[in-house]
Structure formats: C-alpha cells, structure tokens
C-alpha cells in the first residue's frame, strides 16, 4: 500500500512538469507584452526594456523556464508582475475560500445527487424517476454561470433572501455552491441511477429477496454498497473539476478565490500568478486522484491483492 502511494506520487512528477511546461509556453510564446500590461501603454520602450530585464524576460525561453522551475522546486514561485507581491502568499491567501466553496459544492452534490439517484433506480419509471432524470438533463445542459445569474435573480434580487456577492458569511456560500455543484450533480445522479439499476438485477439481490430480507435492507445493505464503489471515483474526479469550474462561478459571484485570481491574472498576462494557480490546481487534482485510489482499496478489499504485488 505504501509502495503503491509512493509510486503514484512519482508518476505525478512528470505530469506536473508537463503541465507547467505547456502553460509556461502558452503564456510566454504568444503575443502580448507583460511589460506593457504592468507599466501601462504610455511607458517608454526603454522603461519597458528595463522592466523586462529586471524580471528576467529578456533571456531565451528555455533559460527562463529552467530558472522558473528551479526556483519553484525551492519554494519560490516568483512575484506578481502586477502587485509585486510573492505569488505563494497571494495564492495561499485564496486557497481557503476556494476549498471551502469546493467542499460545500461537493456536499450539495453528494447529498442531493446520490439519494435522488437511488430513489429513481429503486422506483424506476415513477414520478420521481422522471423528474430526477429530466432535472439531471436540464442541469447538464445549463451553463453554470447562467444558473448562477438565475439564482441571483430569484433569491437575491426578487426574494431578497440570500446575498449575491462576496464572502462575508455562510449565507454567501449557498448560491455559489449550488451553481458549482449543478453540472456535476447531474452526472452523479445519472451514474448512481444506472449503477443501482445494474446492481439490482444481480443474482445476489434476488437471493436476498428470496431469503426474505426487507426491501430496506436489500437497498442499503446489498445493493447500495456495491453500487457506491464507482461513485467514489466520480465524486473525486469532480472535486478536481470543481477547482477548474470555480473559475466561472467565482467570477459570477465575485468571490475572491483561486479561480477569480486566475481569470484576472490571465487577462493581465501575469505569468507568475497564472503559473502558481495552475500548478496548485494540478497538484490538488493529482493528490485527490491518489487519495481516491487509496480509498478504493479500503472500500473494495479485492483490489488489495492486485496492488500489493
């Protein structure tokens, strides 16, 4: 088990290096001068040259990339072009907000998606099944930012129940969490439903019925445990996806998290901050995938024998 974890951590290294290289080259090799963004359009060419010299931007591309990576490995993520602040601090400051949002959204998604998915499978073709399936379809077809706007329109502007923007209290997280959870919740609901339907048709469920087990114990003890297994992966993968989806949601609700920092920095060509955010998101996604694989082994002991070898 320990060996497996170490092995997976080692595999993550080339992936993170690859991602950093892709984003770094996209940011560096394309038109648009960060000096102009930082100093304003009226700055003289000499000032811009000096600024670039100070930031080390006049070096060749590969030198810059290697320098960046060697600093990064030592924990120095550089300074923002815009605010001159250390990227590490700027990113760390915003991590709690984004993680809180992602956790709340995961909670919303699990607590709504899975129960409705189970119900629609157990009572296939009933009203709840039709509503659940249609609701899932509607949610996957809806742009998250539009759902966010509609929620603001209804709950903040019309009913005046919840705040539309900011992060002052727990109420501020309700609408963004629903928005962020929406699309993923739909796919979780669909997966739960189809997994349950598959499991319900297995022989051991028939056996359980034949021996006189109550419907409740069949659903929860025999069916759900087996259907839940693949769902762990879905929840985990989507937790990573949420960090990406937070880009849009945070912009809509004006939440100061990693996503909105990233969108703003991308617009300003603030390469160090963009790199910092992307690396953070990539490492988070990698770690979460690793955690899920470990968790999987605990849930399904059959896998243990395969991994130990």
């Amino acid at each position: 088990m320990f060996k497996f974890g170490i092995k997976r951590l080692l595999i993550m290294i080339p992936v993170v290096i690859g991602i950093s290289f892709i984003i770094f080259s996209i940011m560096s090799l394309t038109p648009g001068d960060p000096a102009e963004m930082a100093l304003g359009p009226s700055a003289s060419p000499e000032d811009k040259f000096d600024w670039r010299e100070r930031q080390g931007l006049n070096d060749p591309f590969f030198t810059r990339y290697l320098k960046y990576m060697s600093n990064t490995v030592r924990g120095d993520f550089g300074r923002s072009y815009r605010t001159e602040r250390a990227v590490f601090g700027e990113v760390c400051e915003r991590i709690p907000t984004t993680l809180t949002l992602a956790f709340c959204a995961t909670f919303v998604m699990v607590s709504i998606g899975i129960p409705i998915g189970i119900l629609s499978a157990v009572k296939q073709y009933s009203a709840i099944d039709v509503i659940g399936t249609f609701g899932a379809l509607l949610l996957t077809s809806m742009p998250a930012f539009w759902l966010g706007l509609m929620l603001i329109l209804l709950f903040s502007l019309r009913l005046d129940l919840l705040p539309a923007t900011g992060t002052d209290g727990w109420q501020n997280y309700i609408l963004p969490s629903i928005t962020l959870a929406s699309a993923v919740m739909a796919s979780l609901l669909r997966m739960t439903r189809s997994n349950m339907l598959e499991v319900i048709r297995q022989d051991y469920i028939r056996t359980a019925k034949a021996k006189g087990a109550t419907p409740k114990s069949i659903v929860f003890k025999h069916a759900l445990r087996n259907a839940l297994l693949p769902l762990v992966t879905i929840v985990g993968i989507n937790f990573g996806g949420m960090l990406g989806g937070a880009l849009i949601t945070e912009t809509v609700f004006a939440i100061p998290g990693i996503g909105s920092l990233l969108v703003n920095s991308v617009r300003q060509k603030d390469t160090p901050v963009v790199m910092g955010c992307v690396l953070f998101i990539a490492i988070m996604i990698g770690m979460i995938n690793l955690l899920i694989d470990m968790l999987y082994v605990y849930i399904d002991p059959r896998l243990k024998t395969q991994l130990i070898r």
Binding site: P14, V15, M142, P143, I152, L153, L247, I281
Partner: protein
C-alpha cells in the same frame, strides 16, 4: 453485384439504427429542437437583418419588453433581441461544429495510431494526452484564448486543442475493442497497408462511439463558448453571441430579467437538444448498453 450488395447491407444497418433512434421519444424531441435551431441559424438573414436589427443601436427603443414588434424585446442599446438570438445561433453552432470536426479528425488520428500500434507509441501519446487532460478544459481554453487574444479563430483553436485529448481517448478505446477481431487479421494476412486497415476496416467499425462523442462534445463546446464569452475571453461584443449577450445584460437583470432569461434559454435548448441526440444515438448504436 458486390458493390450493390454491400450498399444494401449498409443501408439496412443505418435503417436499423434510425428505427431504434426513432422509437426513443426524448431523442426525437432533441432532434426536433436542434433541427429548429439549425433552421433558425440558416434562415437568420431571411428573418432579420444583421446590420440593422442585430448590430445597429437604436436608443429610442431601448429596453422594450417583449411585444408584437420585437417578440423578444430589445436590449439596452435598442437592438432587437430576437435578431441577436438567431444570429448568435449561427456563431455558437458554427464554432461548435468546426471544433468537433477538427478535434474529431485530429483526435481520431492520434487515438487510432495509439490504439493500433500499441506499445511505446501508445504509451507516449497517451501520457501526453493525460497531461492535457489533467488541465481542466475551461482552464486550458482560457489560457490559450488569453495568450492569443480573443476572437473567433483563436477561440476555435483553444476549443479544438482542449477537446482533442477526449476524442483520442474515445477513439483509442473504440479501436482497441475492434483491433483483435478476425477480419483485421484477415486484412493483415492480405498484406493490406496499416493506414488502409485503420481507415477502411477499423474506423468504420469503431465509428459509433466517435459519433456519440462528437454530439456530446459539441454540446459541451457550445457551453464553453458561452462561458468564455461571458467572462470576456471569447467572442467580443457587439457581435451577437449568447454568452457575451448575457454578460452585457448582467447589469440590467434586476429590472429587465428577460434580457438574461431569453439568451440563457437559447443555450439550454440547443445544448439539451444535442445531449438528447447523443444519448439517443448511443442507445440506438449499441442497444446492449441501454438500461
């Protein structure tokens, strides 16, 4: 004689798929909705004038609620919302289709090569795709658009690059499922060239998942276009694009909610149509998968 027979067989296969698809009511609803969208996009110049209705500002007629003259009302610059919606459909659907076409072709080539040759090439290509897949799609598209600047061509490029990995994954697994079949072995025994085996024997038999992925991918692409334009990194105003219309209407939404309800509904309808078609096709192409 031979050609005739193969044609007959092909048609009957298509007919069988169509027959199964037609029985799926939801999929048919999706097809109708999507066809109407396409029709509106094609006929847009007949229904309204691009310059006069969709672009020209008319401040005397601004923010009119839906009425007989402007069935969807007018926006904050007095432009007819209906005209902007149908011309917006042109952009979203066009960009969506081109993206699916390009990423489908390139993704299929990468996936086909990886799946067919296996071994080191497969490992190399798929690890590369893994790296791309590890970056969330929106994030990737945002980085590319931000680096290259907004506009239609750059948006297309960004969307293509970010959807190629998904395609190559699907194609690769489809090809792996076909590769071991006996007729491939037979083709190889006849000294058929690899490229021909892939193009003539493998891809046609693996086409089902590719078509389904194309429809579903177009649905997500339409969503991504709108999202990128909404945060100001896609198609810029005043071009009528659904996402940028929503972004412009954001400030007015307290008193003129129809300005955000109508473009959003257009997005939802077209994406839902595509999703329904994709699901229907998946069931029709492979009835075993259906629950």
């Amino acid at each position: 004689m031979d050609a005739k027979r193969s044609q007959y067989k092909k048609r009957s296969q298509l007919k069988a798929i169509w027959f199964r698809f037609r029985k799926n009511k939801l999929a048919m609803v999706g097809l109708v909705v999507f066809s109407l969208m396409i029709l509106a996009a094609i006929c847009a110049p007949l229904l309204a004038s691009y310059d006069q209705d969709a672009l020209m500002q008319d401040l005397n007629n601004r923010l009119q609620s839906p009425n007989r003259q402007h069935i969807f009302g007018t926006d904050q610059y007095g432009r007819d919302l209906f005209a902007r919606i149908i011309f917006g459909a042109r952009i979203s659907l066009f960009v969506g289709m081109v993206t699916v076409l390009f990423s489908g072709v390139f993704g299929s080539i990468i996936g086909a090569v990886a799946g067919f040759y296996g071994g080191k090439i497969d490992n190399l290509l798929m690890r590369l795709m893994d790296v791309f897949l590890a970056i969330p799609q929106t994030l990737m598209a945002i980085a590319i658009v931000a680096a290259l600047g907004g506009g239609m061509v750059n948006l297309l490029l960004a969307l293509c690059i970010s959807s190629i990995p998904r395609f190559s994954r699907v194609v690769r697994s489809a090809i792996l499922s076909v590769k071991g079949q006996e007729y491939i072995e037979a083709a190889r025994a006849c000294a058929t060239k690899d490229a021909r085996i892939i193009a003539k024997h493998i891809l046609p038999n693996a086409i089902g998942p590719i078509i389904v992925q194309s429809t579903l991918n177009m649905a997500t692409t339409v969503l991504t276009i709108a999202s990128l334009s909404f945060i100001g990194l896609g198609i810029r105003p005043p071009t009528p694009e659904w996402g940028s219309m929503l972004s412009e209407a954001k400030e007015q939404m307290r008193y003129y909610p129809y300005l955000i309800i109508i473009p959003g509904t257009a997005i939802v309808l077209s994406v839902m149509g595509l999703n329904l078609i994709g699901d229907g096709l998946r069931d029709a192409l492979d009835p075993r998968l259906k629950n």
